[in-house]
């Protein structure tokens, strides 16, 4: 930065020239703040070199402002017309894109949901499978009345009544033969009977008598009674 000795001596208490030099463009273009303006003005009053720089920058600014080729009004209107046409075009495209893209987007979302569901199921199975395999729930075992029960049954006679047998007839028959129902299948169509007295009466004879009742499809001894 150029600096005369007398200026240097005079400006020892002011900002260095470099700082003033940096502020001059903003002073020239009017964007400097009040304090900066005051600083520059104070310095320019004392410093001929910076006044010279200020004059040079002012002429430069004027030259730049005067130079250059502005577009004419017709060019501006033409440009605006082209841009508005583009805005209309892209607006239509955007609208149609949004309409067209809705279905694929929905499909995409559905795919993601399904994939997530499969993953959750897979994880669930992986966690539960070992537990289910280790677990032995006797309630889940399949049993028939002909299979040997895990718990010893007290039934000695298996009875299959006809669907036409009424409840009153069944009760009368069981009462007459001193029997009670101790087992039944899920549908209530096959009964396991035991003697009411709990004793081991002659099951074979009782079975024969039961077979003589109207409405009895099947009567047979089971368990220990069958082996007698």
């Amino acid at each position: 930065m150029p600096m005369r000795r007398e200026d240097e001596a005079m400006n020892t208490s002011t900002l260095p020239h470099r700082q003033i030099w940096e502020l001059i463009p903003w002073f020239v273009n009017g964007s400097a703040g009040t304090a900066e303006r005051q600083t520059v003005e104070d310095h320019l009053r004392q410093c001929a070199d910076c006044r010279d720089e200020y004059a040079f920058q002012s002429r430069l600014r004027a030259g730049i402002a005067e130079d250059g080729v502005d577009g004419d009004e017709r060019q501006a209107q033409d440009g605006l017309r082209r841009l508005l046409a583009r805005i209309d075009l892209e607006s239509d495209t955007d609208r149609s894109d949004r309409t067209g893209a809705r279905a694929p987007r929905r499909q995409h979302l559905l795919q993601r949901v399904l994939i997530a569901a499969v993953l959750v199921q897979g994880i669930g199975l992986a966690v539960l499978a070992p537990l289910l395999l280790q677990r032995e729930d006797p309630r889940t075992e399949y049993r028939t009345l002909t299979s040997t029960p895990t718990q010893p049954s007290s039934a000695v006679i298996r009875l299959v009544p006809a669907p036409t047998l009424t409840l009153a007839e069944l009760q009368a028959m069981l009462g007459a033969e001193d029997l009670r129902i101790v087992e039944s299948n899920a549908g209530g169509s096959i009964y396991g009977l035991a003697f009411e007295s709990g004793g081991a009466a002659d099951a074979t004879r009782t079975v024969e008598r039961l077979r003589a009742y109207r409405g009895v499809l099947l009567a047979e001894p089971i368990g220990s009674a069958a082996s007698r």
């Binding site: 005369r4 463009p25 010279d52 720089e53 430069l60 030259g63 730049i64 805005i87 607006s91």
Partner: protein, 203 residues
């Protein structure tokens, strides 16, 4: 780009003397889909944008293309303007980025206009000064030329130029400093007698 219209509650400043407030009102209305406000914003900034861009490419078609690309972004993103800077600063920032992208994609376009002044002025001194300035600016690297243009033609502050060019304030100061040094050497005619004196004192 259809937008929902909303009642305008901003004060009417179009007839006022505050360009920044007027720009902001136009931009806000454009953000609501007001084509008329957008047209005013476009026409108001067209000439300054065109001139700013013409410093960096001699191709008039490219200048128009970049202006429209810039204003397309302005229309599209009008609702995203946060108001941290002046609308003009925001627009010139977009223009700067569009210009840089164009010059990167098409380096052949980067030759600036060397057209002489159109002689509309009777002031021979003014014409001569303009020609000197143009030659001086052409000798500068693009970043320095752009910084000079933003400061001395558009009157942007140091902080605004930093925002437009997306650089630090210190970078703006450094670019301007070096540009001025170089112009001092290439434009002695602008310096006048004081300049000759200063050069002699410097030398």
């Amino acid at each position: 780009m259809p937008r929902e219209g909303r009642p305008d509650t901003e004060p009417d400043v179009e007839g006022g003397k505050e360009p920044a407030a007027r720009d902001l009102q136009w931009l806000r209305r454009a953000g609501q889909g007001d084509r008329a406000a957008f047209e005013r914003l476009y026409l108001h900034h067209y000439h300054r944008l065109a001139r700013f861009l013409a410093r960096h490419t001699a191709r008039r078609d490219l200048v128009d293309e970049i202006v429209n690309e810039t204003m397309w972004v302005v229309w599209r993103d009008a609702n995203q303007f946060r108001g941290d800077a002046k609308v003009a600063t925001w627009i010139f920032g977009i223009a700067y980025r569009c210009l840089m992208k164009t010059l990167r994609d098409r380096p052949v376009a980067s030759e600036p206009s060397t057209a002489l002044s159109e002689g509309t002025s009777d002031d021979a001194e003014q014409v001569e000064r303009s020609d000197w300035v143009r030659r001086g600016l052409l000798a500068l690297p693009p970043e320095q030329r752009m910084t000079m243009e933003l400061a001395y033609y558009l009157g942007q502050s140091c902080e605004e130029i930093a925002a437009i060019m997306d650089v630090a304030v210190g970078t703006v100061k450094a670019r301007l400093f070096h540009a001025r040094l170089r112009l001092r050497n290439t434009l002695p005619a602008l310096g006048g007698e004081d300049s000759v004196h200063a050069d002699a004192a410097r030398g």
